[in-house]
Subunit: 332 residues, 2 copies
């Protein structure tokens, strides 16, 4: 919020005075591109006249990189926001940009505050992300915004989200492919959109093989363990469990093993998230759905760059997940 | 690197001209503290003479908030850097500041690049953190730096680190307190300073009760499981295992349970990190050492504020850990 930065002359001002496009002005000041010497000179004079200095912001506009982008997140654990941030960094730069990461701790007042802070610091755009897939109220700012992971409730905004329906469909489709005929689904709280979406996709995909109802509980290993006892009582023929998270799947595997069921021979198990500390430590290692969050971050940042360059996107883009097949379903 | 900021008169300049300390100069200009009217007047005249303006940076110095601080990290998982960031945010603001988080992915070239980027954006100071406790080479910048979690190899720099020796001592001391007399230690790779420090503290604290040697391996549940078999063969009287991480401790508990050993009745187990997804999901839940990383972040940010205000700290401050007692050691 230095006054020098807020009031800075922009390259668009220089371009207007010189009567050229901003791109041409940028090339002229950077000695790149093929321009007539006279054009180059005219731009330089305009820059001098306006006191244009190639500061952080000016360089960004002229070189097409070096943006500053705010990343607003509610995900204090970083489990979802960190991979999204890494992907965004990839897209925004060959290392020339900076991400202002702001953690709102799910507090609307804190979020408002950060939005104002980011605006005051002249960021070029904002990526809004979170740890839940529920659509969220848009932020009101005069600069480009892209919503990642949680879409905006305004359909005209640009959002990039995970295709949860496709993810759960791929997991259950895989269970059918390996010949399972009695498939249950165990997931998180019914008030979470991600749980409901995954359960619907699992139910629909399993069809006649579905052993319902889908069991809603919490996102924990403990719930996975408890669910196994419920399932085996209700469905003695059970030969597969599709889970709404890797934590749940790990609990399911642990309890099945305790009860002497072989995985996957007797019961195959799938997780969701591809969270390494769960999916790889699980015995056996988990077949699971990777959310491809880095790719989601790259895409969100790419859309933000487009918007900053005057080509905004609209609507919600669903990004494909990736099924990772491991020992918990690998048929013998 | 807006020219306005780079060339700005600093409060240290005002202090020098007035012949007082920067702290006194700050108090004088802010009408705080107990100063003689004459001193206050002298500082004001010096400020006027030098054209000292309470701009972004000046305001920060005067109000104690509104800083921009860079946080450079090598911790792509966010497991260590996110809590440090949250603590730093607390200390730096009542929500008025922004943290520029830059992830170097452990790449020196990328780190150099980010350092330049942060300087160009005029941050007031930099916190350098990482995911390893090894001292690291200092960054060379003309603004205040505080090293958090990983200290600087230059003892004149300001560093805040976890007291790993104290942490491991508290865990093993607790095992002695509950009457254990045959205590082993299982930890990560011997090339990691944190593993060696914790092993040394465990060995020293256990004294005659130590069943050595300390077992070095990897930071994984799998290693914890494997270590149990080695330990029980070597020390049939084993009644406690102190572990270098919660992941290792979880593997230790899992294998002990498989072998029919009761925890803690037959063998008590302690972890390290207080990583909730491991410590709470473990059966039984883990007694462990909390690194108090948010407090470490708060302290690092506080030291950075002091340095920006002209009162730099020097040397390495070791922050205490906190023993969290749960069911894996809770005596009946």
């Amino acid at each position: 919020m230095t006054s020098g930065r807020t009031g800075a002359v922009r390259i668009t001002d220089v371009a207007a005075l010189a009567g050229v496009s901003p791109g041409t002005a940028s090339k002229a000041l950077n000695d790149t591109g093929q321009l007539r010497a006279e054009t180059r000179e005219r731009v330089r004079r305009a820059a001098e006249q306006l006191g244009f200095t190639p500061d952080g912001r000016g360089r960004a506009l002229s070189s097409g990189r070096s943006y500053t982008v705010g990343l607003i997140t509610t995900d204090s654990s970083g489990r979802f926001s960190i991979p999204i941030m890494l992907g965004a960094e990839d897209a925004l730069s060959a290392g020339e940009m900076a991400l202002l990461l702001c953690d709102t701790r799910d507090d609307p007042v804190r979020e408002q505050h950060y939005v104002r802070t980011l605006l005051a610091r002249g960021v070029d755009g904002i990526i809004v992300t979170g740890r839940r897939t529920e659509p969220r109220a848009p932020i009101k700012v005069p600069i480009p915004v892209v919503y990642a992971f949680s879409s905006s409730t305004d359909p005209a905004d640009a959002s990039v989200v995970v295709d949860d329906h496709g993810g759960a469909t791929s997991a259950v489709g895989h269970l059918l492919d390996i010949g399972r005929t009695a498939i249950a689904h165990v997931t998180g709280p019914e008030r979470h959109r991600s749980a409901v979406e995954r359960a619907r996709a699992a139910t629909g995909t399993a069809g006649a093989a579905f052993r319902g109802p889908a069991l809603y509980g919490e996102w924990s290993e403990r719930w996975g363990r408890a669910a196994v006892d419920l399932l085996l009582r209700a469905h003695p023929d059970l030969d597969a469990v599709s889970c709404g998270s890797d934590q749940i799947a790990r609990g399911v595997c642990e309890r099945l093993r305790e009860l002497g069921r072989r995985i996957p021979d007797d019961v195959a198990v799938t997780g969701y998230d591809n969270w390494d500390v769960m999916a790889l430590a699980c015995r056996p290692s988990l077949t699971t759905v990777d959310l491809e969050l880095e790719e989601l971050g790259r895409r969100a940042a790419g859309m933000l760059l487009d918007a900053v360059a005057g080509r905004p996107h609209r609507g919600t883009l669903e990004m494909p997940t990736r099924l990772v097949i491991r020992a918990s379903t690998l048929p013998d």
